[in-house]
């Protein structure tokens, strides 16, 4: 009896040590996030002490590194939106079609062979994609579109789209594959064709997962840095023309970080203000994705 009691006490202490250890691990990543956000906020506040918020939001020029300084975020946001929109326009149809094929039409063997291949595509370093855009896709597109500049939004946008196809396809496929077999059988039993089952039953049933995968992909495109820094140019321009050089928020941060801007200056603070904008937009997207998932939560278990 006494021995059993000792054992139980020992085990209880062991359990406690483990649970505290695990809590520390979890806490570390949370603390890191809090730290990053805190630095962002502090430096952003410092920026807005010199530049009023309304000018940041309404000015249409971004020239903090020139003598004639303008601090309008609009050109960088436009550049980011342009490249991301092109990327998602490429990735959404191709990614969803791939997902539908893999989940509903491909034989199990094909599915098991293709999925890892897709994930290899996701593992290519983005700098490779960047040079692929600059040195291969842009010259190729210039043959079709003569007025296309050497640096432009179109080419990195398309390449970014190719880069996020695996993400869209893989996550959407997971969502479709998880649709209960019973729903497919119900649809087949009513005389549906395979295409009808896929498009009218499986895709709607997996809607939340598909939407979440798309939002994550958009988030990824907005945050993508290397491809646009290399192939889109570094000229903040308030335009939605995909044929001319633009600069995205991420590319601007790279530009300043690589230069010799001294810490504590206003120029230095700009990257935090831009970073904050970037952070808020991806945060909003992720929250929206979460909300969608809640709203369309699959109620079948």
């Amino acid at each position: 009896m006494e021995i059993a009691h000792q054992h139980a006490t020992k085990r209880r202490i062991g359990e406690r040590v483990i649970s505290i250890g695990l809590a520390c691990c979890g806490g570390l990543s949370i603390l890191t996030t809090i730290g990053i956000v805190a630095v962002l906020i502090v430096e952003t506040v410092a920026f807005f002490r010199h530049v009023p918020m309304w000018r940041f939001l309404t000015d249409t020029q971004w020239t903090p590194l020139f003598a004639n300084k303008h601090f309008g975020i609009a050109p960088l946001v436009a550049g980011t939106m342009l490249t991301s929109t092109i990327a998602i326009a490429v990735a959404m149809p191709l990614g969803l079609l791939t997902a539908i094929y893999l989940s509903e039409f491909a034989k199990e063997g094909v599915r098991q062979a293709v999925k890892p291949l897709l994930e290899i595509l996701a593992g290519v370093p983005t700098v490779v994609y960047g040079y692929f855009a600059l040195l291969f896709v842009t010259p190729l597109l210039q043959r079709l579109i003569p007025q296309l500049a050497g640096f432009n939004a179109l080419s990195p946008g398309i390449v970014m789209g190719l880069m996020i196809i695996p993400m869209v396809a893989s996550l959407s496929e997971d969502a479709m594959y998880a649709v209960p077999q019973g729903l497919r059988e119900a649809a087949y039993a009513l005389g549906s064709s395979k295409l009808q089952v896929s498009l009218r039953v499986v895709v709607p049933a997996a809607f939340s997962g598909i939407a979440a995968s798309l939002l994550l992909a958009i988030s990824r495109a907005i945050g993508e840095t290397m491809i646009v820094a290399i192939a889109a140019g570094q000229q903040p321009r308030f335009t939605l023309n995909p044929f001319v050089p633009v600069e995205t928020m991420t590319a601007y941060i790279v530009q300043v970080s690589l230069g010799d801007t001294p810490t504590g200056t206003l120029e230095y603070n700009t990257i935090f203000a831009v970073g904050m904008t970037l952070f808020l937009s991806t945060l909003l997207l992720n929250l929206f994705s979460l909300w969608l998932r809640e709203r369309f939560r699959e109620q079948y278990a």
Binding site: A187, A189, L190, S192, V201
Partner: protein, 271 residues
Amino acid sequence: MYASVLRNDSISNPPSTAHDSPSVFAIQGLECWYGTHQVIRKVSLIIPERRITAIIGPSGCGKSTLIRCLNRINDLIPGFRMSGHILFKGRELDDPAIDPLTIRLKVGMVFQKPNPFPKSIYENVAYGPRIWELHRDRRLDDHVEKSLRKAALWDEVKDKLGQNALTLSGGQQQRLCIARALAVEPEVLLLDEPCSALDPIATGKIEELLLELKQRYTLVIVTHNMQQAARVSDETGFLLMGELIEFGPTEKLFTTPGDSRTEAYITGRFG
């Protein structure tokens, strides 16, 4: 377009049952495999029109496989193979000239676990008519109502047709699945243990409904619940390890079974 291939014009009906009801399905020497595993062995039986035929037997005896042959939904399972003959109204069911999709228009199915689509109640019932383009607009509304009435669900859902079907109770969901199956106006309804996930009250409602549907449809029900078979069916088949041990009028099978294994099963000695 779909009716022509199934019309029962050239070939006469196979021999009818003792009740002189014409046969809908005539199964002869049916054998089924999943891969190398044989699940149905030389099964022959005749399913009469507008009656309830029950298939009973212990778990794994092949009763689900058997009725899933009748709408060829087993075709979807990789590795499934069958031999023998199934005549549907005199016509070979796996005739390459017959599109399995059109068979499923005539032979509906209700599954063990209620499986409404995660759509509105209305959209669930309208699904079949929509894909077959049977009705539109106002007529579709009427048709949805008619189907829900046939499934004895209309009064419970008429004020919330736009609500998600998954908010209904299990028994209501199952009746919705019946309404959905009836909406394409089949001749046969296959029911694969339709009450096994339901409570006794919901089960009672479904059984009542089946007796009513018998007026217009041929029903084949698989059940592991012998009382249920005894309560609702006209004909019963007892399946054991893929073999049809006995098939005949329900009353006879339950009172004076012809085979000792049937007797052992219905008196609860195994299964």
